[in-house]
């Protein structure tokens, strides 16, 4: 239990906060796992594995609802203030983002089904190359954002926010590369649309990881930085302006 959660006179309050924080980590692990498996199913051209991933998304949805119920109960019972309130709000928002990570992973699995289920004609493997590259990058971002959440690690949270700009660059570059396949042969347009939607899903997962990084900064410092520039956030954190007290 980190310092921000523990220490209440009422131990049950500590336990409840700990419980909702653990739900976030559980949901985060599931999201990461879903992403890894979805990308693997595409690499392995394995529609059966993809179906399982789509099925498992239901478990994430159930966990999402469970977390919301726990949060509502905690607010009603404990009326959290100050850092406890920030913690509960952060958990609530993070859960929301992680549930969407699950939805995006499901979309990636959907591509496997679309290309490899039964007698379909898969595209040239080169067209999928950027998906694997981006997926690796996004997985790293998501993992880092969850570590930042778990350890209240400001530099790590900042790094995820920085990585998102890099990811955006990667995404644009991938779209440009993809368009060359259509220029070569217009019959590739159907593949291009599907791959673009998948790249978009991965880009969104990166966006959710970035959001989680922003929530961690809010949780630790009390400052909402979602709409601040990275340079400004970094300068202010280094100057100690975002630190409480």
């Amino acid at each position: 239990m980190n310092d921000m959660i523990g220490g209440h006179i009422v131990h049950a309050f500590n336990n409840e906060l700990k419980q909702i924080n653990e739900l976030v980590l559980q949901l985060g692990e599931m999201g990461l796992d879903q992403l890894r498996r979805a990308v693997q199913s595409l690499e392995d051209e394995d529609p059966k594995a993809a179906s399982q991933i789509i099925e498992r998304d239901r478990a994430m949805n159930e966990l999402d609802i469970k977390a919301d119920e726990e949060i509502i109960r905690l607010i009603a019972k404990r009326q959290p203030v100050a850092k406890d309130l920030r913690d509960v709000l952060t958990v609530q928002k993070t859960v929301n983002d992680l549930e969407r990570v699950g939805d995006e992973a499901r979309k990636v699995a959907g591509l496997t089904l679309h290309f490899y289920d039964q007698d379909k004609h898969p595209p040239n493997g080169h067209m999928l190359h950027d998906i694997f590259r981006m997926a690796e990058f996004v997985e790293e971002m998501l993992h880092a954002s969850l570590t930042a959440f778990k350890e209240l690690d400001l530099p790590q949270a900042l790094e995820v926010i920085r990585q998102d700009t890099e990811l955006d660059e990667e995404y644009r570059a991938a779209l440009r590369r993809l368009s060359t396949y259509v220029m070569e042969d217009s019959r590739n347009v159907g593949y291009m649309v599907e791959v673009t939607l998948t790249l978009r899903a991965l880009e969104r997962i990166g966006g959710h990881a970035k959001n989680i990084g922003g929530y961690v900064i809010f949780l630790v410092t009390g400052r909402d930085v979602r709409h601040e520039s990275l340079a400004k956030i970094r300068t202010e954190i280094e100057a100690g302006n975002y630190l409480p007290g």
């Binding site: 203030v81 100050a82 406890d84």
Partner: protein, 293 residues
Amino acid sequence: MSNSFSQGQAAVVEGVEVPVAVDKHAEIERSQTETVGEYRVADPRMTCRDVDVFYSGSQAIYNVSLDIGKNEVISMIGPSGCGKSTFLRCLNRMNDTIDGCKVAGSIQLDGRNIYDKSMDVVPLRARVGMVFQKPNPFPKTLYENVAYGPRIHGIADNKAHLDHIVETSMRKAGLWEEVKDRLDQPGTGLSGGQQQRLCIARAIAVEPEVILMDEPCSALDPIATAKIEELIDELRENYTIAIVTHSMQQAARVSQRTAYFHLGKLIEVGETDQIFTQPRHKLTEDYITGRFG
């Protein structure tokens, strides 16, 4: 620091609990020399500077400076024995009634030191009224409870004027509709919440500028509490209110500014919204989040 303070034992002097260092937070507190946050306001009704309070040699309040603004509700919170009630009682010299109590520093009402030798405490306590934890109506009729103050302070010109004062005070206190047909009945026959509103009507009747409330809802049920809180919000239009409360939620609900006291020191003061979302001092944060107290 007195012996009783440093030995960490409970001390009660003249029936008044004095601060005692018993927890790990005392160490943080000892290094605290200045109040965190802005203790001044642009338009103060009362101005307190460097206030120290001693009970028979034991110091209960250390160097507190705080402004109380016009038409604001300021709440004072803190653990038991932190000095918040002691400080509140300084504001209309209620501490004068305690033997061995000495107040140093300056407390001004509208620019005039209330501890000045020429200050008459009777009109002072009309200008700075007080509502206590336990409703304490006089053992008289409802009418007399409210009429008593204006009569002894010579505020009412005649019976009709007195009737008018009683009615408007009771209306402002949100009590009139409930009691207008039984003004000749004893005040002690009302419910707890009604009695407390009667005490507020009694305080209002003498046209105060400031109303001090010392845990005004702690003896009331939630509905009566809600009525008093609604009343406090309405009274703010015409009065300045300083309220001591053990309920942090109540402080968050009713006040615009919050002052956090700990072991006789004013640790932090600021906008209530800020104190309850982003307190700047660790002691404030730990207290309002229920980590000690």
